[in-house]
Amino acid sequence: MTRYFYDKRVREIFWQVALLAGLAAAIVLIVRNASQNMLNAGMATGFDFLWRTSGINVPFVLTSYSPDSNILALLWVGVTNTLVITLFSVIAATLLGFVIGIARLSANKLLSGLAGAFIEFVRNVPLLFFVLFWYFGVIAALPGPRQSISLFSVAFLNNRGLIVPVATDGWAFRIAALIVVLALVAQLVIAVWAKRRRDATGAIFPVWATGLALLVAVPIIAFSIAAALSAWDVPALRGFNYRGGFVLVPEFVALFAALTTYTAGFIAEIVRGGIQSVVKGQWEAAYALGLRPNRALNLVVIPQAMRVMIPPLTSQYLNVLKNSSFGAAIAFPELVSVFVGSALTNTGQAIEIIAITLAIYLVIGLAVSGFMNWYNAKTKLVTR
């Protein structure tokens, strides 16, 4: 017996099991205690409320939700909107952040100075300020519905949003989307093939040219044809605003702009740090091989810098996900706004709703980190 007691491995396992058991016991205790207390206080518990009619009007819906749907459908509206705003902001912030981060390192003093000023400003101002600044800025900059800016008499821009026509029948667009996906696959195949050939023979294939054709020209042509073949629901001024079409609400634009500019400031610094972490000798070696500065950056420096950049980029992406909840401050109907705001107060089931919300953020967050970790492992292998 004492032999086991002195065995380091056994002791470690014992403590871990004890810790887990203690944690499980604490959770069980908390849940039981909370439900008993809520029962005593006369508060409703359970998850039945998810199937009740929501009765809430949501101004920005990408699903088939209507106020007659149940609260589960309302939750799904919130999740979709959170995912959409996060995805758009992450892509835009990454592009903007890379541009600013590289500009920060430019030999051009004006360019690097401007980039530096932007970064310092963005990193030292609270996000809530950005959100409100963009929101009231967007509303103030745009005219009222009756003075809308007309775009070819089919789309209209005013402070209620950008109102665009939608096709009443989507088959032509579905075919166009399929063509675009095929073009994307073709471009990926070409890129992989071009890289293999370059590695084998050193010959460089103009991937950007096929990219331009496949990813820009093909979608434009495909969607134009689809547009010509479709029947349209064109917005028309009736009552207070335009009726029909799809409305991109100013809340979306404001939150997107705020998240993008704010996060781009941080990403720019990550990019700068990543590039600077690559020792100068790598640049010199690349130049010695006869590579031009652009190629040296793209082929030698950035692949090595990525290794340093990916872990902090992951946390920035997770921050965007979490910061999207600032939409609640400007009534953008994301997860917190519709579920913790409207549904919680209507049903009063705080513990269930907060628990569901936390679980959803956790699942999305873990999925993002999982993907980034996979990508990180992949880049590590490439650079050894």
Partner: protein
Amino acid sequence: MTHLARGALGAALLAFGADAAGAQQLAPSPTLDAIRARGHVECGVHLGLPGFSFANDRGEWTGLDVDFCRAIAAAVLGDANKVRYTPTSVQQRWPVLQSGQVDLLSRNTTITFSRNVTLGVNFQGINFYEGQSFIVRTSSGAKKPADLENASICVAAGSTEERTAADFFRERNIKVTIINFQKNDDAIAAYDAGRCDSYTAGLGALAGQRIKLKTPAEHLIMTETISNDPQGPVTRWGDERWQAVVRWVLNGMIAAEYLGVTSKNVDDMRANSKSAEIRRLLGADGGFGAMLGLSNDWMFNAIKQVGNYGESYERTVGKGSPLGLERGQNQLWTRGGILFTSPFQ
């Protein structure tokens, strides 16, 4: 019945009689005990709604709902100033009450079935009969809710107004866009900034919010209402004696107006009134305060320091205030309103 059982019953009756002969027995009231121990009432109010609960430029809370908190403090502690206010948003109000952080909510809260039944809260009467309506820019030309076709309407998320408005327009097949803000103040600010064509809330609340707009004169409050929203003070389930205190202070303020007792004549009334009900209300007779576990001058203090319902109404939301609301439904039934009170008997 066996001898043994008979003996036990006799002993129990004897013990009860001995107890009853001593002091009057009261059901325990943890809330009242806690208020006395800490020396003030914890009252949950609105974040800031002129006329109902609003901190003025000296930081003093004023308003109809605030007056009710003050009346409770006067009745329980003898001093209307012994209140600590907790400003709460639409969403915060329930957890704040349920968790025991406040003793009561007095905050423009509509009585609804599901709140009463699923939140573990009780409504203790009605201190304001409210009806939901809309505020629009006069220049829009809209006069009634049905004119709001395709309008964007700002509203506080989680309020009764959010769902009432959605139901109203859906039932009539009128398409509107409802923008749900987390706080009333955010919603009214967005309306003022031009994001919305209309903001919806109760008539009284709209009159209060209009004062906050940049140019109040350019806005019209529609007279047609789309709901009945009776509002009143709220307490948690449990502690029946405390709930009775809240209920009867409200009844007492309305009864005082009906009986003609005001903050000016309350001393005279207590000393000289011949009316049996006034004497019981003011504690000159009947020992009603003691039955609640309060001093017998509980309502005397409340009326002396805060006033009767009518005085409070006129001062905060009525003709003596910037809101200038008529009494309307919030008038005694004897004068054309629907305020009715239970007798102090």
